[in-house]
Symmetry: C2
Subunit: 366 residues, 2 copies
């Protein structure tokens, strides 16, 4: 049902809409791998279910799940959720899933970036990643839409944001990392982003969140609220290694304009206090050679910017931290027409990401 296309979205008149534009639905992957999720994934499955059932209140959602966990997932989620068997290597739908583009005639297409588990054999997080790399193609079959496959360009959905009006946000830390497209120049990488997302300008934030194992994905650091307005992960604590990162990003973005020539309004979202892996949490994770270990005392890349925006809602991770309240208040002001849904998300964070990382939107098309 899905043809592989050899053209590009820009040539064909397709663009990636902003996440804040209307959705046809959301995709997620059910978590299970015991060398990343503690206690056989059971606590993470509870939190994922909360995210799934929250989104299901607002828009159609499909959860894909391995053969082994199929019946369990089906039993746990709201009956409104569509559950589909799909093999995977882990549960980061944002990163291995399709990036969808639409045209003005109501057509949907999938971009199927090459995926190598955040750095392949250089600094990837697990091996192998063959099933993750098939997820986008399988989503295109389910959506019955054609697909642009890039055999020679590695990208995760979490490393880009778009305002839907020609501006892309990304980080140098990730897109220029050694484990991805190190055979290409920055200019070549920028050209590919423009061609596939149908954009005119790429804003290169230098770094993402401190100690983020994704090599600083932008979706943990900056997000478009709407064209011309971004939120930025922030800290006032000069001793925090995050300080320099956030301040440099602020400086950079303050002096840039977007594709339409607008100056950006930057809203700060203060990060929670440092969150470290506890002994109990570390002990619950299987030790497997080749998979990033979860060690006691490791600092997690916690950020409120890793929220997900859908039809009428904003699903935001909270951490039982004093800064939760401020984050919720700021997001309520930024999204007056959407319900802010805070979800206690420590279990997702323990796996290496958050709500934005585990979701992928299908834009409304017809």
């Amino acid at each position: 049902m899905s043809k592989r296309l050899e053209t590009t979205p820009k040539k064909d008149g397709f663009r990636m809409p902003g996440e804040f534009e209307e959705h046809a639905g959301t995709y997620m992957i059910w978590p299970e791998r015991p060398d990343n999720w503690r206690l056989g994934g059971k606590p993470a499955q509870k939190t994922f279910t909360e995210v799934i059932n929250t989104i299901a209140k607002y828009e159609p959602i499909t959860v894909v799940v391995s053969r082994e966990q199929y019946s369990n997932a089906l039993a746990m989620v709201d009956p409104k959720v569509r559950v589909v068997e799909m093999s995977n290597n882990d549960s980061w739908m944002r990163d291995c899933g399709a990036t969808f583009v639409t045209d003005k005639k109501g057509n949907l297409r999938a971009i199927d970036w090459k995926f190598n588990a955040w750095g392949g054999l250089v600094d990837g997080l697990y091996f192998p990643w063959d099933q993750d790399d098939l997820v986008a193609s399988k989503m295109a079959e389910l959506e019955e839409c054609d697909r642009y496959r890039l055999d020679d360009f590695i990208l995760e959905g979490g490393s880009i944001h778009t305002d839907g009006e020609g501006t892309i946000l990304t980080t140098e830390e990730c897109l220029l990392s050694a484990g991805r497209n190190s055979d290409k120049t920055k200019e070549e990488i920028e050209e590919t982003l423009k061609e596939y997302l149908n954009a005119e300008k790429v804003l290169w934030v230098k770094e993402g969140i401190y100690n983020d194992e994704t090599n600083g994905h932008v979706d943990n650091m900056v997000q478009f609220v709407k064209p011309g307005v971004v939120v930025l992960a922030w800290t006032d604590d000069e001793k925090d290694p995050q300080y320099k990162r956030s301040h440099e990003a602020y400086e950079y973005l303050s002096n840039e304009t977007d594709a339409k020539g607008r100056k950006l309004e930057i809203v700060k979202l203060h990060t929670p206090n440092p969150i470290l892996i506890t002994e109990k949490e570390s002990e619950g994770v299987d030790s497997v050679e080749g998979t990033l270990p979860r060690e006691v005392g490791d600092r997690l890349a916690a950020s409120y910017v890793n929220y997900y925006v859908g039809n009428g809602f904003v699903a935001v991770p909270i951490f039982n931290d004093p800064y939760d309240k401020e984050a919720i208040k700021t997001l309520k002001e930024l999204y007056p027409d959407r319900k802010v849904e805070p979800i206690y998300a420590r279990e997702i964070l323990l796996g290496g990401g958050n709500i934005h990382c585990i979701t992928q939107q299908v834009p409304k098309h017809k």
Copy 2:
């Protein structure tokens, strides 16, 4: 997306339409198990692809396929075909898949019979069958329709036919077999069929095709062309063990009326000459304890009745046998408004069934 229902189709105003009524589409499963399909399933995959691509010319078709064969199936079938990952134990979609029912308001629902591989631990054909038994539920999720699950009633789709007007065809050989519902009386079994398929009358043909490993599925023996008209597998050869079976069925059906009180018109479809497994064919199949062996000289249950009717076509198995011509001619006369598509199907037959056994229709609903 699919709720489990505790009522019955009859109570809810749903019925199973005849196969000859309009379809929304077809489902099939990709073959692969090397202890049933010779040479790792490669010859069967070619023939299945012929069936798939033939059906794809006429109506939407979804092919479900294991993780291991996903990419290969995607590469082999026509791009019009929707390919979806789904675990399975073998490729008999008719038997393990959902039986779909519709109501007058345009709603679709799935019946999810309990499946035990044609006889469970009594005389089933392989072990285990856990993934096959999940296929119907997964189809309901894909079709986004609710589902009647029978925890205590074993049935395969190939053991029933309906005229869509209240008459069910089945065989005593199969439905009263020791490996299925032997804790139930014939009357109780009949009552369940009427309640779930929304029928008033069940016609009990005594036996199916000689040496049919399904315990004589009706879909290899008799099929409704339309209400009031059936085709029957036939032989004039008195020495053939099929002779008594066909003649008894003819006798029985001649003296019965359908749910509407009509006498049945019976059209004979002469079976091909006996088809035996060759040494080469037998050698290509893995030997696995617990799976029915494919031995040299075994007679296969070949029958032209095992055809599949869809929107504008009749896909009929042929065997390079002198009787092929007669079967094609008869079906052309019986279906003047459909294209008869003969497919050389020895490779499907070698696995234990034919075109009807590997297909399942989704009736048109909205």
